[in-house]
């Protein structure tokens, strides 16, 4: 397989991957916020397409999704938003399978992937699509040269790891702890264990679920991660709106910079792993 834009994003050190729910609270704001995150050092942007039943999300992102859907977000609006983004880092679409499956006139995920490709999306994360059910989407991604990111949970072992490894591309999303998304005050001990299980994998390992502070980022990257994924801590900033400490965009950029610096510091703390 040729090197994708996502692969490249991991080439020069640890990647910082922020997440926002598209359309929270509206399309124009999302564009502004995404640019701020890129300004702050984002290497890849995960942009959520809201689904009405987000079973993997904690309350922070659930609320963001409610705001976005109330604002009228639809798959087509989402694609237009991405099309307008004008940023130079890859975009990963995070959504649930029903929206992918239902899009377009023809059956199956192909129309969704085709349209995603047109607007410049580079890959997908689909939290309710385990490797067992991912065949059709994997095929469509291959057809259009997009990456399909899989989540590896703390409970994922043995055979399941192999099945995921055979399907994953772009990066593997290492779920730092059991549960749903949401900012936490500490780093889970499960993270190191999980990273350990994936040591031999030659796909970049990005850790998410619960990262909110510079020091989390540093510790996780020092522990062997190739990237960090941060969602709820950023969505919290969006939810707060402008404050005395700055506009949302200013604070997002600042937070991005802090986390990116943490990741870089973490990388400095350890011998750089071999990269393909």
């Amino acid at each position: 397989m040729s090197q994708s834009r996502i692969d490249e994003a991991f080439a020069d050190g640890p990647a910082f991957i922020p997440y926002l729910a598209a359309g929270d609270p509206d399309v124009e704001s999302t564009k502004e916020y995404v640019r701020a995150l890129v300004q702050g050092g984002a290497d890849i942007v995960e942009l959520g397409l809201p689904f009405s039943e987000p079973i993997a999300e904690g309350s922070t992102i659930q609320n963001a999704i409610v705001r976005s859907l109330k604002g009228g977000m639809t798959p087509d609006t989402y694609f237009d938003l991405v099309d307008d983004l004008d940023i130079d880092v890859p975009v990963v679409c995070m959504t649930y399978y029903n929206l992918i499956y239902r899009y377009g006139e023809e059956e199956g995920p192909e129309p969704f992937v085709r349209r995603a490709t047109e607007v410049g999306i580079d890959g997908f994360v689909v939290p309710d699509l385990p490797a067992e059910e991912s065949g059709p989407l994997r095929e469509a991604c291959d057809e259009y040269g997009l990456d399909l990111v899989f989540i590896v949970a703390p409970t994922t072992r043995g055979e399941r790891l192999e099945r995921i490894m055979s399907q994953v591309s772009g990066y593997v999303y290492v779920q730092a702890r059991l549960g749903t998304t949401g900012a936490r005050a500490d780093v889970s001990g499960q993270t190191d264990t999980s990273l350990g299980r994936l040591e031999e994998w030659d796909v970049p390992k990005a850790v998410g679920f619960g990262i909110s502070e510079r020091e989390h980022a540093e510790r996780i990257v020092a522990g062997g991660a190739d990237g960090i994924i941060v969602g709820s801590a950023l969505v919290d900033i969006v939810a707060e709106g402008d404050t005395e400490e700055g506009t949302v965009a200013e604070r997002l950029e600042r937070k991005a910079r802090e986390l990116k610096e943490g990741a870089l510091a973490g990388a400095a703390d350890r011998p750089q792993p071999e990269r393909p």
């Binding site: 009405s52 039943e53 659930q62 029903n98 929206l99 939290p127 989540i151 399941r160």
Partner: protein, 407 residues
């Protein structure tokens, strides 16, 4: 893992190992009776649950409709509904698997109470997720769960009904999966749930098939069961699927079959009749969804049917033409509720009442011998029925004045 094109395992990766473990346990304990699991289960259903439930010849309805109407009396099961068949089966399975904690969602509260009862019976910890709106519609069931020692977690997202409760329970499970089993309340969710729940509920049709042959001298021409998620439906149908018996899944037509796409509301719960294919709560099935694939808020006067999806096996059987989906609106259900209460001395659950409304309307099409599954009793619905009846013109209802205080 599939029924034709439906079913599957659309869940977060974190849950997949637990689902694999469950699949393994299902094969060993349920299908192969390892450690005598099924014997233990059946004995508990008998002694704790009160099985077998009768198949009653309904004299007044038979006379009214000019055919032999039989009632499968799941309302007599401990807890007052068919739900215990499944809740006890899963809780016991979890115990055999070494799990310590049970979580479950509930809509009408019947599955929650059944699970709470089963957990008390088995000495297991139990937490129930229930939409806030349903909590207010079904207070007696809330009390019963608490009295049986279960914790109750109100779910405030969305409209606060079953759909949201399932999502929230899945979130708990994603956190607690290592020591916890999620007792899903219907033939929905990822494989092996739809199949396993059906197997636990199939005791309904196993008994009914034997009983009807004894009483009516042959197989029934039709079997009617209400359908929300579809567990009483599949339980009542399963053993008849291979027969030449017509199977009617009676869905909640709510206030209308029209859909308010802008509002995101389908004022009914008729996924089999009006839904389209999609993926929800772990399975591909028929759903109430908008053109983008966002799930609609469903509606029914009966909380237990108020769900935007349906079991994948039922969706498949409908596609195959083996099961006929029909529906009855809120008014019809209330008529059915009052009619059965007065004519047969059985106060049915509002869910169940839908099947009797269909019987009233379409009895001429149902052949000589008809079985209706009385999936539950209506004690939990008294307040709702009184309120909803007072707002409408329900011919079969008693004078409601007596219910307004001042007795």
């Amino acid at each position: 893992t599939k029924f034709g094109r439906y079913g599957g395992q659309y869940v977060p990766e974190a849950l997949m190992p637990a689902i694999g473990e469950l699949e393994d346990a299902y094969h060993r304990f349920v299908l192969e009776n390892e450690d005598g699991f099924m014997d233990d289960f059946r004995a508990r259903l008998r002694d704790f649950g009160g099985r077998p439930t009768p198949l009653q010849h309904a004299e007044a309805l038979s006379a009214r409709y000019g055919r032999e109407v039989y009632l499968k009396r799941e309302d007599l099961l401990h807890g007052g509904a068919h739900k215990l068949n499944n809740a006890l089966g899963q809780a016991l399975l979890a115990k055999y698997m070494g799990k310590e904690r049970i979580i479950a969602e509930t809509g009408a509260g019947q599955h929650g109470t059944a699970t709470a009862m089963a957990c008390a019976h088995l000495g297991m910890d139990c937490e129930i997720y229930m939409g806030e709106r349903d909590i207010n519609r079904q207070r007696p069931n809330v009390f019963r769960m608490r009295l049986n020692g279960a914790e109750l977690n109100p779910v405030t997202t969305g409209r606060g009904t079953l759909k949201e409760a399932i999502s929230e329970t899945m979130r708990d499970w994603a956190t607690s999966v290592e020591d916890t089993h999620y007792v899903i309340g219907s033939v929905v969710g990822p494989h092996p749930f739809p199949r396993m729940v059906r197997d636990f509920q199939a005791v309904i049709s196993e008994e009914a098939r034997e009983q009807v042959q004894e009483k009516a001298g042959g197989l029934p021409d039709s079997v009617l069961a209400c359908a929300g998620g579809g567990s009483n439906t599949m339980g009542a149908f399963h053993e008849f699927v291979g027969d030449d018996t017509d199977l009617y899944a009676v869905e909640a037509g709510g206030s209308s079959l029209e859909v308010d796409e802008a509002g995101g509301v389908a004022p009914n719960s008729a996924s089999l009749s009006t839904g389209s294919e999609g993926v929800l709560h772990g399975a591909r099935t028929k759903l109430l969804q908008d053109s983008d694939g966002q799930i609609m808020e469903s509606h029914s006067v009966s909380s237990g049917l108020d769900y935007a999806g349906v079991g994948p096996e039922l969706a498949h059987l409908v596609d195959e033409g083996r099961v006929t989906p029909v529906n009855v609106d809120d008014d019809g259900a209330l008529e059915g509720f009052h009619r059965l209460s007065q004519l047969e001395g059985i106060i049915p659950a509002l869910e169940t009442a839908h099947a009797f409304a269909f019987l009233e309307d379409e009895h001429e099409e149902l052949g000589e011998v008809v079985i209706v599954n009385v999936s539950g009793r209506g004690d939990k619905d008294l307040e709702s029925v009184i309120e909803e009846t007072a707002e409408r013109d329900i011919e079969s209802a008693p004078d409601m004045d007596v219910f307004q205080g001042g007795l």
